[in-house]
């Protein structure tokens, strides 16, 4: 998990930007510990979901029909777009262009913020129609796992705000922190892709 990149360091004394090429693990090792562990935990949830789905296949299949595939697809595009901005922002920050990087992270946060709004738009009618977590096992899995993912999204948005703050106020961006935030956001994205496939597309 190393990246070859052009990283820029602003020398505080000479006010010059030194661009170096290096291979390193992006972000902080502790964030990778979290990401890998989180993926492992979600993997267990996914496996359990598939096992229960096999046991009650007809119920799960009929319940899936009630989900709004359109909003699910839009949310996928939303997260992928947000992730693209995050990747571009990180790359720009490595080149020492803090202002441009900040702008890209603002776009990423704004796009990412659409996700919870769209979730609300999706869930309110479903809940209103009585498709609550207590309706059946499928909806329990759906709300629990999508809800957990939503918590991750919210946390990711908070982290993104801190990244934007760091890019705005500091002369030398904290690349480790920015990369850690980007890593986390990509993980959120990856989890959603699996969730989308499991809940909306799997037949």
């Amino acid at each position: 998990m190393t990246v070859a990149d052009a990283s820029a360091v602003v020398d505080r004394d000479t006010r010059t930007t030194v661009v170096t090429r290096s291979r390193h693990v992006p972000g902080e090792p502790s964030m990778w510990f979290f990401v890998i562990g989180d993926l492992f935990i979600f993997a267990i949830y996914f496996v359990l979901y598939v096992v229960y789905r096999q046991q009650q296949h007809a119920l799960f299949l009929s319940s899936e029909q009630h989900l709004n595939q359109g909003i699910g697809a839009i949310n996928t595009v939303v997260l992928l777009t947000s992730s693209l901005f995050v990747a571009l922002g990180t790359q720009t920050a490595r080149l020492g262009k803090a202002r441009d990087a900040m702008r890209l992270f603002v776009f990423a946060a704004a796009t990412g913020a659409l996700f919870p709004i769209l979730k609300l738009v999706e869930w309110l009618p479903e809940l209103g129609a009585g498709l609550t977590p207590g309706h059946n096992l499928f909806f329990m899995f759906y709300y629990v796992m999508a809800g957990l993912h939503l918590c991750h999204v919210m946390l990711g948005l908070v982290i993104m705000c801190f990244v934007i703050r760091d890019l705005r106020i500091s002369k030398a961006p904290d690349m480790k922190f920015i990369e850690a935030g980007a890593t986390y956001w990509h993980m959120v994205d990856l989890l959603w892709l699996v969730l989308f496939a499991l809940f909306y597309l799997m037949r």
């Binding site: 979290f34 562990g37 267990i44 207590g134 329990m140 629990v144 918590c151």
Partner: protein, 265 residues
Amino acid sequence: MNTTTASTLPAAAAQKIPWRKSKKLDQWICYWSVPFFYNLFGIVFVPLSWMMPPRSPSSPLPDVVAFMQSHNLLLACAILTLAYGLAPVSNAVYLTQMKRMSVNPAFRVTLMIGSIAGAIVGMLFPLFCFGLGAFRSGYEPAVLQMLYDFGYLAFIGSLGCFCAMWMAFGLAILLDHNNILPKWLGYYTVWQFVTELVAAPVWIDKSGAFGWNGLMTFWLAMLIYVPWQFIVYVCIYKAIRDQPEDELDNAVARKPGRAPAGAGA
């Protein structure tokens, strides 16, 4: 942050201090009370009463009545009544180390209030519910069933306070510039928060993966919680061990006007 150990005392002199006179003695006593407390809890909950692993939420009424009026449950509740006061001591161990962190005291206060609320809801309520069943004979089976539900739901389904306190603890570790506890422990603690959230469906489902004895709500949470509990105490042990003595609250001598131990040496 000053990381030199016992900066006001020469290292050799610091090593010669007998453990009984160590300024960390009170902290170490609190610390070692924790494994005692958890071992006691383990014995009471598992082999003595078989409260844990949780019995089924949809157990037949005769089974519930037999459990609620069993002698073993009575003995377990008697021990818990005497020992639950050790819970604040274990939380004091966390809080003492959190105080050293560079974060806002709000995190520490959140953990403190959260743990108090958690102890009331997650420990006292179940104790009263199971204790009532065990100590007071003559309740109707329906009442015992209600106490059984209440006890288990309070124990496993008390989410909010634990969510807030673990999140405060995890964030405090992550935001701390003094590196009192390792960053990866902060992330691990965030998973604790996640497991509390996953336990929410125990209020809805009475069986299966999301019942209070379910794979998702209990067993997976235990898979994360049990190693975390061990690891966090190893980390706290290292934090206490590495804490400079002059940083302790009791480093100042008791006699008014006297300088902290070793000051000026």
